[in-house]
Amino acid sequence: MCLAVPGKVLDIEERDGTRMATVDFGGVVKEVCLEYVPDLQVGEYAIVHVGFALQRLDEESARKTLALFEELGLLQEEFGDPWEAAAAPPEWEERGPGAATGAGAGAGAAPAAAVGDGVQEAGR
């Protein structure tokens, strides 16, 4: 929830006296309020948090961040189905021990199987 995601403004319109935009977040399109960055234009990028643009961002930074978020699965976390996520077993349980990715997963690794067993027991 604290995550703010860069997005590209596709179009802008006035709605109920409020400046609103449709914004593309790496393929996911959402409505975004521009009242806090009122001079943002179509084609520009901004950091968006819970449907509000908070700061303008340069295109290169925005693209890099979006690519990283996609790679880390954070876009899915932000825009995926929250009920599904809340109901589903944690990703590491579903995919089995050792599922977590990234340097930390390996670098700090406890024996993965032991952790997996612990999760299974606690889950029941």
Partner: protein, 374 residues
């Protein structure tokens, strides 16, 4: 150093780490305030790549984690009412109250809906004029302006059936509380980048000077964090304690003036209780007097709730940096993301969840993996 290959730009990461190594001469304890930063640090093993003398302490910067149990219970009570549509961000669904969570309230018939933006909740209120629509307004300075704007819009558009359950918190008083707590080991702060995108850096120089701590505004990508650490360590080694911006692409000195003006109009500063920590003076916002009609606590009279945290949960000590998650006896046994005792295990930004997900269970690492903190 093999895990450096997983950085977006391993060469730059290596150069930053080399610079930190060549600068540091003695032990330093740095606190990263933002839960998103904690997640990145653990996910990329940044704490384990750092020289032994640099310790990262995880701060209380996860809004889901610090929302007090009493407020969660109020949310659950309101959400269970048949006349209410209760709207929330998705990461609050599994946060445990005293005896249930929002997910369970919904499965027992409560009309709980997840929204992407608070404006979506306002739209639901417009579409359901005969129901009360309540939005769960939690979060730091990044989330408060959207919620403030939504209440402002509700009044402007004359939508009477919308209200906000408010539990907003502010970072600078939390830094003050951490620095004045007995046993505090923190010597410098990596400040939360997106909070500063809104608030700017104006609140920090006085804090940095009074407590003689460097405060470096830092982003949340792996290289951002390494750069923040590099600048912090440089200041510490030189005996400096200034405010520095290592995230200029998203943070300007004055923050976002329009957002700050809206915050000043809709909210007023109040003492706020932090889950696991207790009350911190002037550390939160509540709706100001002229928006009191939109305050769900007043509208639904949810007073008189008494709460008790599970005795086994030590999340408060984790949030203040006194212990690492795996040092809690319940970690990974009684307390897992599926059966969380405290919110630090629920939220993806919580330190306990990050440690659990990335296998930081406190076992002895191999010499190559040796880390000063785990």
């Amino acid at each position: 150093m093999k895990y450096l290959d997983e950085f977006q730009n391993p060469d730059l990461a290596r150069r930053l780490l080399d610079d930190i190594r060549s600068t540091v001469t003695r032990p330093w304890a740095l606190m990263e305030v933002c839960g998103g930063q904690t997640h990145t640090i653990i996910r990329h093993g940044i704490d384990q790549l750092l020289p032994e003398q640099v310790e990262l302490i995880h701060g209380p910067g996860c809004p889901v984690c610090v929302t007090p149990l009493e407020v969660i219970d109020k949310a659950l009570e309101i959400a269970a009412r048949p006349d209410v549509i209760f709207c929330s961000f998705g990461d609050m669904l599994r946060v445990p109250g005293s005896d249930r969570d929002l997910f369970q309230v919904r499965s027992r018939g409560g009309d709980v809906r997840v929204v992407y933006s608070p404006l979506d909740a306002l739209k639901i209120a417009q579409q359901n004029p005969h129901r009360e629509v309540v939005f769960f307004g939690i979060g730091f300075e990044t989330t408060a302006p959207p919620n403030a704007m939504t209440v402002y819009q509700a009044r402007k558009l004359g939508i009477p059936n919308f209200s906000l359950l408010v539990s907003h918190v502010r970072v600078p008083p939390a830094i003050e509380a951490i620095m004045t707590a007995p046993g505090c080991r923190v010597q410098a702060f990596l400040a939360a980048g997106h909070v500063c995108s809104v608030m700017g850096m104006g609140e920090y120089p006085e804090l940095a000077a009074r407590h003689r701590v460097p405060i470096v505004v830092t982003g949340f990508e792996p290289l951002d964090i390494l750069e923040g650490i590099r600048r912090t360590v440089r200041q510490l080694e030189r005996g400096e304690h200034t405010v520095d911006n290592a995230y200029p692409r998203a943070v300007r000195g004055e923050g976002n003036p329009a957002a700050r003006a809206m915050l000043a109009d809709v909210f007023e500063v109040t003492d706020r209780s932090w889950r696991g920590i207790g009350t911190i003076p002037a550390s939160g916002w509540r709706l100001s007097e002229r928006y009191r009609d939109y305050d769900a606590e007043y509208r639904f009279s949810v007073d008189g709730i008494t709460t008790r945290e599970p005795a086994a949960c030590r999340s408060g000590e984790v949030l203040q940096g006194f212990i690492k998650p795996h040092e809690c006896e319940a970690f990974g046994t009684l307390c897992t993301p599926r059966t969380p005792l405290g919110a630090t295990m629920v939220s993806s930004e919580g330190a306990c969840a990050a440690y659990y997900l990335y296998r930081r269970l406190g076992t002895t690492p191999t010499p190559q993996e040796a880390s000063p903190v785990v």
